[in-house]
């Protein structure tokens, strides 16, 4: 038997999630921020699969499928927005994009 246990996967998934979150916090580039969101989603996916393994159930896998679909849709729309914003504002800096603030 391997010493590999699902909880180790969980730890990795959470570390990745934390890194994604940190990136989301400190980066200003909208593109990178979107990538960070992908990172976080992946982290969650990993924990889904790991829990699936722990629980002897396939529901986690299904959830991952749905998350992937949503992620694809999200990145498509998100990137579309980024392009639109860049076209009008000539920047992808999240701090510069404040037209809704006032």
């Amino acid at each position: 038997m391997s010493l590999l246990e699902p909880w180790m996967m969980l730890v990795v998934s959470m570390v990745i999630f934390g890194i994604g979150l940190l990136g989301l916090l400190i980066r200003k580039n909208l593109l990178v921020m979107l990538m960070c969101v992908e990172l976080m989603l992946n982290g969650v996916n990993l924990s889904f699969v790991a829990f699936s393994k722990i629980h002897h159930s396939l529901d986690g896998h299904l959830a991952v499928l749905f998350v992937m679909t949503v992620a694809a849709a999200e990145s498509a729309v998100g990137l579309g927005l980024v392009i639109a914003l860049f076209r009008t504002l000539r920047t992808v800096d999240s701090d510069q994009i404040q037209i809704l603030r006032d």
């Binding site: 990178v32 990538m35 990993l46 499928l65 990145s75 729309v77 009008t88």
Partner: protein
Amino acid sequence: MIDYPLLAFSAFSTIAILGSLMVIFKKNPVASAFALVAVFFSFAGLYALMSAHLVAALQILVYTGAIMVLFVFVIMLLNQDRPVEDFKSSSGIFKLLSGIAVSGFVFALVKVALLARSLTPRGDMTEEKISELGGNVKAIAESLFSDHVLQFEITSFLILAAIVATIALAKRKAHSGRGHS
């Protein structure tokens, strides 16, 4: 005897963590994007280790194949003339706070993860049952198209909406672009 799964896990997880760190710390978004590709691949490996073959395959197809290509396209499309004032613009205290917050967060999450050690299985989908059903892919497909068919159908609406939204964004761009210049 070499514990190959553990070895593979160590390799994949190290790549994943290092890759993600590169994603967030590389100044150039192109570098970030390529680091992200590495992360996605290693994730596929991790899935495979847990015998989630379908997910592993989809990971490569959807993330690496579709999403990453999209990212790279956009990066090239934008072709930023001036770099984003990335790390400089946030104040030190903000970064410090972020670091503390995120490490606290991860710490708490890991604590939760360790709690998972004591969890007992609740389902009946053991390895044997899955192979009896005809493999991972078949088992998932059975479940997806029977119990979760409604959710499945709804995702199609989501994707449709995303397509419409993206097209709408693209079209508006053309208009405003003309008006703008």
